[in-house]
Amino acid sequence: MNRALIASLAFIVVLAATAAPASAEEGGGSFLLKNVTLHPVSGPKLDNASVLVVDGRIAEVGMKVAAPKTKLRVIDGKGLHVWPGMINSGTTVGLSEIGSIRETNDTGELGIFDPQLRPIVALNPESEYIPVVRANGITMAALLPAMPGGRRSDGANTQLIGGQISIAHLAGWTWEEMEVRRAGGMHLSYPAISAVSFDPATFSTRRGSAYPKAKQQHDLQVQELSGFFDDARAYWTAKKAGVAVKADLKFEAMIPVLDGKVPLVAFASHEREIKEAIEFAERQNVKLVLANVIKPRSALELIAKKKIPVILGRTQVGTDEEDDPYDEPYTLPARLNEAGVKFCFGTFDEQFARNLPYQASQGVPFGLPYDAALRSVTLSAAEIWGIDKDYGSIEAGKVADLVVTDGDLLEVKTDVKMLFIRGSEADLETKHTRLYKKYMARP
């Protein structure tokens, strides 16, 4: 009787394990995927190729991969394409569910400097967005602690350092399972001079007139920001020298940034802020990544010269100002590529995080080579986040984050047929497919 109970309990445990939507534990599945068109990104396309995955890592890639003698799952992928999983380099997916419902939002902490915040701990594995994003071939996301752009009525930023940027896999039972890097970057909303005032009467923005005040606010915030970095550095120096300092979580969190181990991810959209952010990072001697670059103008040369990587935002948008060429947002990736700038894409939101591949492909008809577009959401992203040793391409030794599709990864019409995170097959069911099935079955 006791034995029977144990047996049934064990059965339940096994059931639960097999029902796991996407167990992404290290040491995930092993399988052989054969007869596929392989897009390794790190090298040229391979037709009729195979990938051997052992314990969650890619063991072998090539035309003649022999199946080991052991009993192994073999997937015949005839007619299918295999790609590295895509990386969304800036999103709040899993942190914010319904914008208007306070309880479902875990972003945008109050305070000017919040470097101690780690968004990974706020990641909700039950988010309805995660399966939707995953089902589009995105296996990993850089989680933003806050959305940039909050402004006080006087034009100053509501927040400068919003927190750390965590890198997470988009499958797992808990955030611990999903974690890739707790601190992949440090978020900074670089202060911009916002000489744009909002007129509630006409519900429109007005440029001009507010400049002197906005400039003053900006200068104050830059000063405040430098002061914060200086204080953090003083803390670190004292600590290194063995001086007893009162532990300060904010300053502690800044140490890897000051040490150059974690990049400062500065949101700076326009020429002036970009130049200032670059100058600031140089002065502080920290590693810089620029985010949400929209209109760099002459700063583009500087970005290229200093080899600063860029996280681009949405490309399927209208122009910034009325006289801009209609295709300015579409050609931006091509212009960066031509200048030799390394770039990736973030969606900077949660609802549209699934649209990442289309952000990348938008540039292709406007001068961006296709390979560069594909690289931007895979290997380039991994390089920018410093995780290219394990991610971003299909190479022996790397983690098996793979997407199996029936066509081009960046094409809207393509369906994702299978998706592997750390070698484990992830569930592709989403709220969309559930609703589709439900209503298709309606009598």
Binding site: F203, R207, G208, E322, D323
Partner: protein, 451 residues
């Protein structure tokens, strides 16, 4: 003898009272350069003023004995300048007109700040329609702007209340006189319309709402008129229409002033204005250089705002203005040139300018761009009078017109020119000394030299 003296004195006083305390003197300006506007420029002209009117004008006319003579050598004489749209003379602290319908108006004239208004539901509550407000009832001769404007050469202004969508009726006023009533030349110059909304939470909160609201008001007014007439004919069978002060004010409208600055706005207002079967004038009009043919075809005059758009003082030095903005900055001062060339009647207004004299400076800019000085003078005088239907009394130096004159030393549009004297209703004023700082302008009283 004593009795006779008394009678004589009484008679004298009575006569003096009849003609008002300071009766305009009988005088002549001789040997000046006279810009009659209606006719040729007289190089050595003489203008005779009597009883507040122009008695005669010409070269070599005889000056009757006993007339005060002003030597006009080296002086230019212009018809008194007219600003065609301002709020001069209306105290800024006009009691806020209650927005509620007449029935809800508080007793005691409603001069106090009205209590919080009930929420406006729609056109039936007549929000922002202050058609019963009349500039003629509000003007005060003590307003500082009057003296400032007069010192800049303006003898006449068309002044409007400006709060609300239908802000009220404007008045043509002379910039001189002892009482507000004395200043008024025409109390029904036109109904001032604006399409700016006060934002959310109130009706109308959008441009399309304003347009629909204006249409509804006109429809309601037409119906109201019929109902009123029917009731007057037969109060037994016809229902008695509820008195509606907003519609009463609307029915008294003889001229509409509609705002239009950009090309789109001008074209829209030309169509919109035609719906009301009431003569209308467009004000603003800075982009009218693009629409002269439409304006010409419609026969609609323009009151041109001559505050030419410039780069904003406190703008972001790195901001690149839009092509549209640059184009307007470049082309707006050519609008008078285009209007004059096409024969579209236009006058000018000081709205938005710091000082009345800036109107003349702004026109100088247009002259530099090709506007004929004669056309500029006409816009400041006779055209304005014609637009407001007062060319029988104002706008040129002709026999029988009001003795409103602006006399300068030098050409009107020359930077170095100074206004020597101004005549309003035949009464002579000299310009107030220039105030040290613009915000405190018109602080000093000008010494009156009336005899």
């Amino acid at each position: 003898m004593n009795k006779r003296l008394f009678a004589f004195t009484a008679l004298f006083l009575a006569a003096a009272g009849l003609l008002t305390a300071a009766s305009p003197p009988h005088l002549a300006i001789r040997g000046a350069r006279v810009f009659t506007v209606s006719g040729a420029v007289l190089e050595h002209g003489t203008v005779l003023l009597k009883d507040g009117l122009i008695e005669a004008v010409g070269e070599g006319i005889a000056i009757p004995a006993g007339v005060t003579v002003i030597d006009g050598t080296g002086l230019n004489v212009y018809p008194g300048l007219i600003d065609a749209l301002s709020a001069w003379g209306i105290p800024e602290t006009v009691p806020a007109a209650p927005a509620a319908p007449a029935a809800a108006a508080t007793p005691g004239q409603g001069q106090q700040q009205p209590p919080p208004q009930p929420r406006v539901r729609g056109p039936e509550d007549r929000p922002n329609a202050f058609t019963w407000v009349k500039a003629a009832d509000l003007v005060k001769p003590s307003e500082k702007q009057i003296e400032t404007a007069r010192s800049a050469g303006f003898t006449t202004a068309v002044t409007f209340p400006k709060q609300g969508i239908l802000a009220g009726h404007g008045a043509v006023i002379n910039l001189g006189g002892e009482t507000g009533g004395e200043m008024v030349l025409d109390p029904a110059a036109g109904l001032y319309t604006s399409v700016t909304t006060r934002g959310f939470g109130t009706f109308p909160g959008s441009l399309m709402g304003v347009m629909a609201y204006l249409r509804q008001l006109w429809i309601d007014a037409a119906y109201y008129k019929l109902a009123r007439e029917a009731y007057a004919r037969d109060p037994v069978t016809n229902p008695r229409p509820a008195y509606d002060r907003a519609l009463e004010g609307l029915l008294d409208t003889h001229r509409l002033l509609l705002p239009a600055t950009s090309r789109v706005q001008i074209e829209r207002m030309l169509r919109f204005g035609a719906e009301f079967k009431t003569p209308f004038v467009l004000y603003g009009g800075q982009s009218a250089y693009e629409t002269v043919s439409e304006l010409k075809r419609a026969g609609v005059p323009v009151i041109l705002n001559v505050k030419w758009p410039l780069k904003e003082k406190d703008s972001d030095p790195e901001e690149i203005p839009s092509m549209k903005t640059l184009q307007l900055r470049d082309k707006a001062p050519t609008t008078p040139v285009a209007l004059a060339a096409a024969g579209v009647p236009f006058a000018v207004c000081s709205e938005g300018l710091d000082a009345p004299k800036d109107v003349i400076k702004a026109l100088k800019k247009s002259i530099d761009l090709g506007l004929k000085p004669a056309d500029a003078i006409r816009a400041l005088t006779l055209s304005a009078a014609e637009i407001y239907g007062l060319s029988g009394r104002l706008g040129s130096i002709e026999k029988g017109k009001l003795a409103n004159l602006t006399i300068t030393k030098g050409d009107l549009f020359d930077d170095k020119t100074t206004v020597s004297m101004i005549f309003v209703d035949g009464k002579k004023y000299v310009p107030a000394p220039e105030a040290p700082t613009p915000p405190r302008q018109g602080g000093a009283k000008s010494p009156e030299v009336g005899q």
